[in-house]
């Protein structure tokens, strides 16, 4: 069938920041298909130059309202790497709890408020209240609230954490607080199972689309990697020297976007929950494996729409692993540890962590007085832009004969599946007063 049409979606909704989709079709063939990012470029690296080492974490935590814990941890790891700081076991345990809390917070936000409306056939989460799905929305809010309170408890504050400092924590929660958290996490386990059942009942709305690509994430034989691990690709295996991460994250500029793109072994690669699942699924807790089985999710899965399901799987893993970590902490007893005081010295440090949207890297060079002279931040969403574009190029010919509205919605759903955080740094409002 030959037809002419064009689709232009300016500012795809239910994603963070501004991204546009343009599709022009003439005589049934694609003339133009473009995923473009129109946000002002970030200059966070420039803001870090000239700052003292203990100022880097507070600044970078404000890059993103969702991944402020992740940015904090990448920043601390880079700083501590540069200064040669060795952390206590207790700090390592609590940092893992912090990263679980953030992952839960972000994933439930994406699954519940941003993707569920697509699957339930409504434009947003709001019409669901008062409908037959009210109970589901309440479950989502409850789980999101728990994740927020867990972040508060571990990091001192949900948004822009304050207890995470160079060398450790400025304060730890009490054992009583952790016991309370443990109880709530146990309740969350059954709520998550119930939510998985609801999502499974509408999962047939997720397009059955596949495109082979490269997946990159941290990986370690010790655990399902979030806080620590080796830089690993499904194509090329493990990169031995983490300080040479640029061999993998080759960033480049494209004319249609202000954000950087990245590629490694192929034209594009993907980071995020699906990438982690594809590399590390064997290390998931059994309850998380059960969620994967419910959806028939097996590694390697090449359907980007399944990223949301991988997030749900990870959510269950975060709960299970947090319960285990709290057990360990309670068995050992919480010590009143002060943060390790670093010896100020010149050096370069690289911090890698897995944040909700994927691999995040901070790379700092400090001078002998501990001031930052060079900084580089590799953000997950930038690593995914090229993959989104390549997915669209394969997806559109497969659905080109469908109604325009359906093509448009499918493309928007594809972008949303990646949970992109195009600009996590503004929330500008535009209103009229009457």
């Amino acid at each position: 069938m030959s037809k002419d049409f064009s689709i232009h979606v300016e500012h795809v909704t239910r994603v963070e920041g501004h991204g546009n989709i343009t599709l022009n079709v003439k005589n049934g063939s694609i003339e133009k298909l473009e995923w473009s990012v129109v946000e002002a470029p970030r200059f966070f690296e420039a803001m870090l130059r000239g700052q003292q080492f203990n100022e880097l974490r507070p600044i970078t935590s404000r890059i993103c309202g969702i991944c402020s814990i992740g940015h904090s941890l990448a920043s601390l790891k880079a700083t501590e790497d540069a200064l040669g700081v060795k952390l206590s076991e207790q700090t390592e345990l609590f940092r893992r709890l912090a990263i679980h809390a953030e992952n839960m917070q972000s994933h439930i936000l994406h699954i519940g408020y941003l993707v569920a409306p697509d699957l339930l056939g409504v434009g947003s989460v709001f019409p669901l209240i008062g409908s037959k799905h009210t109970d589901t929305v309440l479950k989502i809010v409850k789980l999101h609230r728990l994740a927020n309170e867990m972040s508060d408890l571990i990091c001192g504050r949900t948004i822009h954490p304050i207890r995470l400092v160079v060398g450790g924590f400025s304060m730890f929660p009490t054992e009583k607080q952790l016991v309370h958290l443990q109880k709530r996490l146990e309740e969350a386990r059954s709520l998550t199972q119930e939510l998985a059942t609801v999502i499974h009942s509408v999962a047939d709305k997720l397009p059955a689309f596949e495109r082979e690509t490269e997946y990159i994430a941290l990986s370690t034989p010790k655990e399902y990697a979030f806080y620590d691990g080796d830089l690993t690709s499904t194509d090329t295996g493990t990169l031995k020297d983490y300080k040479k991460y640029q061999e993998i994250t080759n960033e480049y500029l494209v004319p249609q976007s202000t954000a950087k793109y990245a590629k490694h072994h192929r034209d594009s690669y993907m980071v995020g929950a699906l990438a982690r699942f594809n590399l590390n699924s064997k290390q998931l807790h059994p309850a998380a494996q059960d969620v994967a089985k419910l959806f028939g999710l097996k590694a390697i899965n090449y359907n980007p729409f399944m990223n949301t399901i991988a997030q749900l799987v990870e959510f269950m893993h975060n709960i299970e692993d947090s319960l285990q970590l709290i057990d360990t902490v309670l068995n050992q007893g919480i010590k009143d540890e002060k943060p390790v005081k670093p010896k100020v010295q010149a050096g370069r440090g690289v911090g890698l962590v897995e944040v909700p949207r994927g691999l995040l890297i901070h790379d700092y060079t400090l001078n002998s007085k501990g001031y930052c002279t060079k900084a580089n931040c590799i953000i997950p969403t930038n690593q995914n832009h090229a993959n989104i574009q390549k997915d669209m190029e394969k997806l559109v010919p497969e659905i080109i004969n469908r109604p325009e509205k359906e093509i448009e919605l499918t493309l928007e759903m594809l972008v949303r599946a990646y949970d992109p955080c195009i600009s996590c740094s503004t929330h500008y409002l535009d209103v009229t007063f009457v």
Binding site: G65, V125, I129, S425, H427, D430, F433
Partner: protein, 158 residues
């Protein structure tokens, strides 16, 4: 005890977008009664949903484009606000607070009194300093915000 929440939202790395946080930092230097809590809401978003039930009244301080002159301020109740466009709920990941308030209302958790202290921004590009216009009006803004907070505290005593 139900409290009055003073919540600043904005991004300190986006020049005038950080005005909500800067004003919060300024006003919280003064002592308030124990019923008042100051909260740095950062970029805010859906996370605000979970702090709202704590309060009976909230004053949200934020950069809002109401097509005024830079540094101009408005103090309005939630009812006073009408969105220019049709509301696109949860339109961005960092859902703006009007949608959060709406969800809070649906969940029957919305504080009884919600006010917004809105400041017209000029420059929202990346940077850690306010525009000249906002810097020059900072003292006036703080003074007026203080007045509004005191009015709210008094109203609670009645």
């Amino acid at each position: 005890m139900k409290k009055i929440g003073i919540i600043g939202i904005g991004n300190l790395l986006r020049k005038d977008d950080g005005i909500g946080i800067i004003l919060l930092q300024q006003v919280q230097k003064k002592k308030f009664p124990a019923t008042v809590e100051c909260l740095d809401g950062g970029i805010g978003g859906m996370n605000l949903l979970h702090v709202l039930p704590r309060y009976e009244s909230v004053i949200i301080i934020d950069a809002v484009d109401f097509h005024g002159t830079p540094g101009e301020w408005r103090y309005v109740s939630l009812q006073d606000i009408r969105r220019k466009k049709e509301i696109i709920p949860a339109s961005t990941h960092e859902t703006d607070f009007l949608n959060v308030l709406r969800l809070s209302e649906e969940l029957q958790e919305l504080p009884a009194h919600v006010f917004i202290f809105a400041v017209q921004p000029k420059d929202m590009t990346v940077g850690t300093t306010l525009s000249e216009e906002l810097t020059s009006k900072l003292d006036t803004l703080e003074l007026n915000l203080q007045k509004k907070i005191q009015e709210r505290i008094k109203a609670k005593k009645l």
